[in-house]
Subunit: 359 residues, 2 copies
Amino acid sequence: MLHTLIVALGERSYPIHIGEDVLTNAELLLPHIHGKKVVIVSNTTVAPLYIKKVKALLANSELAVVEVILPDGEQYKNMETLQTILTQMLESRCDRKTTVIALGGGVVGDITGFSAACYQRGVNFIQIPTTLLSQVDSSVGGKTGVNHPLGKNMIGAFYQPQVVLIDINTLDTLDDRQFSAGMSEVIKYGLLWDREFLDWLNDNMTALMARDKSLLIHAIHRSCEIKAEVVAEDEHESGVRALLNLGHTFGHAIETAMGYGVWLHGEAVATGMVMAAQLSQSMGWLSEEDVDYTRAIMKKANLPIEPPEEMTSVQFNEIMSVDKKVLDGVLRLILMKQLGKAAVTSDFDHQALQDLLSV
Amino acid sequence: MLHTLIVALGERSYPIHIGEDVLTNAELLLPHIHGKKVVIVSNTTVAPLYIKKVKALLANSELAVVEVILPDGEQYKNMETLQTILTQMLESRCDRKTTVIALGGGVVGDITGFSAACYQRGVNFIQIPTTLLSQVDSSVGGKTGVNHPLGKNMIGAFYQPQVVLIDINTLDTLDDRQFSAGMSEVIKYGLLWDREFLDWLNDNMTALMARDKSLLIHAIHRSCEIKAEVVAEDEHESGVRALLNLGHTFGHAIETAMGYGVWLHGEAVATGMVMAAQLSQSMGWLSEEDVDYTRAIMKKANLPIEPPEEMTSVQFNEIMSVDKKVLDGVLRLILMKQLGKAAVTSDFDHQALQDLLSV
């Protein structure tokens, strides 16, 4: 059963196809390829598992296929890897009609999308996300980019793909830790936007963690739908889109302080969401039960709920001061007015924040 | 006397102000700055001459000003310099409301624009071009980017400024060779689009080369007007905009082969335009007189009309094969149907091209 969702962005609108066996259906891919060259960017973990399937989809066409295989890990999402991709594209004589396919998780998607955005000032781009995290997060919204030693995702572009293909069967090979990290972002959509979906997740978490496919398709579809709804309202993050960063200011600080790749993004965000819930409680917006509910659903998904012991409040403050949501020197945080309803605010209790960071 | 031109690009439209004393009029700059931080990117040649003037315009505001001074030269228009700018912006805690000002020639404009395009996925950007070349070329059209060892401008973005300020007095300090290189692009607009303007340039070249200010203002205004007209029709270079690359395929090959910065861009393009005229003659489109006219106007502007002796046809072919105008493996060239009317074509006489490259 194939689910299709349209991300409505005017002339930059694109479809997301979600289902089993999406990667055996060439009709979903080929109409979106126009030139004579396709570059598949993947990594050393995903390529051995799925690149043959993607190449098989292209086999009956007259397309020349170039493969760029990156090392696996957030620590490679940097300008050097970007250079590697661009150099290989130039060496392969890629022109402006070339289509670039990202086959892998969020790191591959972000860096490949940014490569497509800046190669000859922009070529076509297709996403085939193979992790739960990338399926529900980086496949919607057009955020591409790389990390800088001084901050995550500080260099990049807003750049939309032609199509996103989500084959749920690729989750069969995802390890448990990565799967949990993806579930963190699924839970996020419930927490920030949709209490009903949050409760559905809470009720079905055991089956979801056992990777029940029809439940997973629903969870991914609803997550993409929520993100698409938010992004369509605010493509360049001047308003409501910032809500999608629930848990991310704290989470990015953890990732940056620990070194990229030590904590997984979803793990750091899970802890960040619990911290946001705690601060929301100190604002009187959430009850203690709400915070306990937040902790409990994270635990069901095998996610961490406490920041790393070795991290100091000095580190948190230092890294959070360059967060992209800082405007005119003022830190803005995403907190929860209630479960299922997040809000951006710079008007939080600063002492409560410092107390939270000092635990 | 202030000339103002609007580049019409819908919600990305912006004004270009041209005149004397533009850099003493804060009213032209301040309304385009919104955040509390301004980054001025310039180079070691231009900064000592003009950065104080720009800072004086900002002095009565509460803006914090960050200066990033680059080494001077096309050879620094690369990913390393981009990194330098982005790192300094991060170290200075620049946020998404930061405005980045490019103060200098085309290299400073291109790399600064690309930095603005990819810093936190895009911040505001203002151009203050100080060379004739950048005033008539890179200040209109939103092309930003850096070079790659395998090709010029291969990495970049289409990104529009908020405003462009052209102060004609900055040309007083431009050396003769750079001035000629800029005149090459002015002549280009006549050759590709406007026979009447071409003849006006031919008639007034002696006074223009003596830097008569009112004539220069007209030449710059008309050049920007032509470019704006072309760009408004075709922002992302899928059609008519390619005409602006008259002389550039040959010119880029010369620059790349000789090493960036050895031949100036305008010098290489001047020779490239003569080569395009010669090939147009072999197609029967231009007469021998037309080619002589093209050579003569370049000579009046002290521009080279022959490719470097040490360059081989093998080098030309190799470098031209990765030109951004190559589509599906087929080289397209900009040739002249007549003086003042260029056309893109892949249907040229390939033997004539090889003969031309082998001289």
